[in-house]
Symmetry: C2
C-alpha cells in the first residue's frame, strides 16, 4: 500500500502512520501543523518509507501534487473541536467540508482508489435508538462539527457512486490513548495539575459517553479495509460495547492520580450546546469481521492519564516536546 495520511502529525494520524510503517507500507503524511505536532512523528521520521509534507488541505494544487502516486488515502485531518463550534462556524465548513471535498477532488485527479475517513458518532445527533446502529433513523444534527462530518460522508458517498472510488467511513466514539491532545481527560488533568483539590465538570456529570483506545481504533480501520472485499461505500461504527458516565471517568482519573478533589458541576444534561447526553454505538457490523477492542474504557482512560503524566514529566525535565506545560495549564 502507498498510503497518504492527512492529519499525519495529529493524535490518531501519527499512531496510524507508525502502524502502517511497522506493517511495511510506504506512507506520506500531509499536515499543516496547525494542531498536529512534529514531535508525534519522531519515530516515523526515522523510517526511509516515510515522508512528511507540510501543506494545507485548502491549498488544492499542493494537495494534488502531494497525493500523486498513492493508492489509499486515510483522511484524518479535521477540526475536531465539537464544543466551540459556535464560536467560529466557518471553521468546520472550511477545515472539514471543503477540505474533504478537496481530498476527493485530488483523488479523482490523481487516481487514488480508496479513502478511509474519520467520521463521528456525533453524526447521530441525539439518537432515539441505543446502541445506535449505522442505519439508525435519519438523524438531526445538533453541532456544526456533526453537520460538517455529515457533509463529508455525503460527499464521499457521491464520489464513490459518481467516480468509482471506494469509501470506508468510520464513525468513531471519542478516542483515547498515547498522543491524546484534546477532550475531557486532558481538561480534567489540566484542572487537577492546577488545583488538585477540586474538579469542575460540565453538565451534571451523568452524560453517558463511549470511548475507544487509539490502538483498537487503528486495528478496526485496517481490518475493515482488508476484509471488506466488495462494497463501494462501507460504513462502520467504532466503539467499545460499553459506556460510562462522565462522573465515572472523573473518578478513574482521580484514582490514577491519587487525588481526592471535590467535584463541582455545571448542571443540566449537556456539557455545552450540541453536546450529546448519550453516545453508545452498535458495533456488531465491525465485530462481524472479527474485530474486538483489547481495552476497556477504564483502561483507556488510565493509559491516557499515564501518557499525560509522562508528557508533563518530560516537559518539566526540559525535553521540550511536552504539550502540557504549566503556563498552558494555568491558562485553562
Amino acid at each position: 500500500m502507498k498510503a497518504f495520511v492527512t492529519g499525519a502529525a495529529g493524535f490518531i494520524g501519527s499512531n496510524l502512520v507508525d502502524r502502517l510503517l511497522a506493517l511495511g507500507h510506504s506512507v506520506t503524511g500531509y499536515d499543516n501543523l496547525s494542531t498536529g505536532s512534529e514531535s508525534n512523528l519522531c519515530d516515523a521520521r526515522a523510517s526511509a518509507k516515510f515522508e512528511l509534507i507540510r501543506g494545507d488541505l485548502l491549498d488544492f494544487a499542493a494537495l494534488q501534487d502531494a497525493m500523486r502516486g498513492h493508492d489509499t488515502v486515510f483522511h484524518l485531518a479535521a477540526n475536531a473541536d465539537v464544543r466551540f463550534g459556535t464560536d467560529h462556524p466557518r471553521r468546520d465548513l472550511e477545515q472539514n467540508t471543503i477540505a474533504t471535498f478537496n481530498v476527493l477532488e485530488a483523488m479523482r485527479h490523481t487516481g487514488a482508489e480508496r479513502i478511509a475517513f474519520s467520521s463521528t458518532g456525533s453524526i447521530y445527533g441525539e439518537p432515539s435508538v441505543f446502541p445506535t446502529p449505522e442505519d439508525a433513523p435519519f438523524p438531526l444534527q445538533t453541532s456544526l462539527y456533526g453537520a460538517s462530518k455529515l457533509a463529508c460522508e455525503g460527499l464521499i458517498q457521491a464520489y464513490a457512486e459518481g467516480f468509482g472510488i471506494r469509501g470506508f467511513i468510520f464513525r468513531f466514539v471519542s478516542i483515547l490513548g498515547e498522543r491524546y491532545s484534546h477532550g475531557h481527560v486532558l481538561d480534567f488533568y489540566r484542572q487537577l495539575l492546577d488545583h488538585p483539590d477540586r474538579l469542575h465538570i460540565l453538565g451534571d456529570g451523568h452524560q453517558k459517553k463511549s470511548y475507544l483506545h487509539v490502538g483498537d481504533c487503528i486495528d478496526a480501520l485496517l481490518m475493515a479495509m482488508e476484509k471488506t472485499a466488495d462494497g463501494r461505500v462501507n460504513i462502520f461504527n467504532l466503539g467499545t460495547a460499553e459506556y460510562c458516565e462522565v462522573r465515572d471517568s472523573a473518578g478513574w482519573i482521580c484514582a490514577r492520580l491519587g487525588l481526592h478533589p471535590q467535584f463541582t458541576f455545571g448542571g443540566g444534561p449537556r456539557g455545552w450546546i450540541g453536546d450529546s447526553p448519550f453516545i453508545f454505538l452498535e458495533t456488531s457490523r465491525i465485530r462481524a469481521l472479527g474485530w474486538k477492542p483489547k481495552l476497556t474504557i477504564q483502561q483507556s482512560v488510565e493509559r491516557t492519564i499515564d501518557f499525560l503524566q509522562r508528557q508533563t514529566s518530560g516537559a518539566e525535565a526540559g525535553s521540550g516536546d511536552g504539550v502540557v506545560r504549566t503556563d498552558r495549564v494555568r491558562g485553562q
Copy 2:
C-alpha cells in the same frame, strides 16, 4: 412577514414571490440571474412591496446587507442540476453548501428568525422503504446534488440548535407547473418540437417518479410555517400520494401535444449516474396539518406542457420573454 427570497427569479421562487405579495407580505428577492429570469418577476415588479436585488450568495457582504430587516428567509436558490453533477463537482459545493452556509451566517448577523429550505427527495439516495418517511434509515447519497442538500440540512439543523433560529426543511419531489425551466418534461417537449416523430427516453422508462405542482408546493410551505408553532427544526416531505413511470409521463405529454412518436430507450434502471429509480415519499406528516395537493401528477404534467406551449408561442410571436427558442431546442 418581511420575506427574503433567494432564487426569487427562478421557477419556484417567482411563484412564491407572487403568492407572498398576494397575501400582503413585503418581499425582497435576491437572485444572481444565472438561471433565473427577470421575466418571471413581471407581475411582482408591479408591486410596491417587492424589491429585487441582483446579487450572488457567495458574496457574503452583499447578502448580509440585503438581508437586513427581514424576519423570514425562503432559501430556494440552488444548483438544481442533479444529472450533470459529475461534470462539475465544485458547483454543488459552492452554489448549494457554501451558499447555504452564507445564508445562515447572514441570518445570524442580521437577526432573521426563520428559514424555509428547499431540500429534495434525492436526499434519500436509493431508499429501502416506500413511501419513504422523513425518519427513514440513515441514507447513502448517490449524487453530488443530494450530498450537497444533505450538507445544507445539517447546517440548518446545527444553526437551529446553536443559534436559536427556526428551520423548516422541505424535501420536494420534482416540481412542475408554470415557469418550469428544467427537467424531463422540458427535455421531452424540446425533443418533440425538434422531431415530433420520435422521443428518446433515458433509462428503460420504468423509473418510478413522483411530481408535485408548484402551487401545491407553495400551499404546503406556507401552511407548515403557519401551523407548526413549536419545534426548532421541522422537516416535511412534499409530494403527491402517487407515483408514475417515466413512460406514463411521456404518454401524457404526447397525448397533450397530439403526437404519436416512436419511443427509444437508453436502457437500464437509471437515467444517469445517481438517478434514483424510485422516488415516492411518505407525506402523512404534512397531510396531518390539513394539506393535500389539488392536482394529480397527470394534471401537473399537462399544465406544464400547456405552459411550455404558451411560452413557445410567445417567443415565436416575438414577445421576447420565452425560454424555449428554436436555437436552444436544436441545441439539446
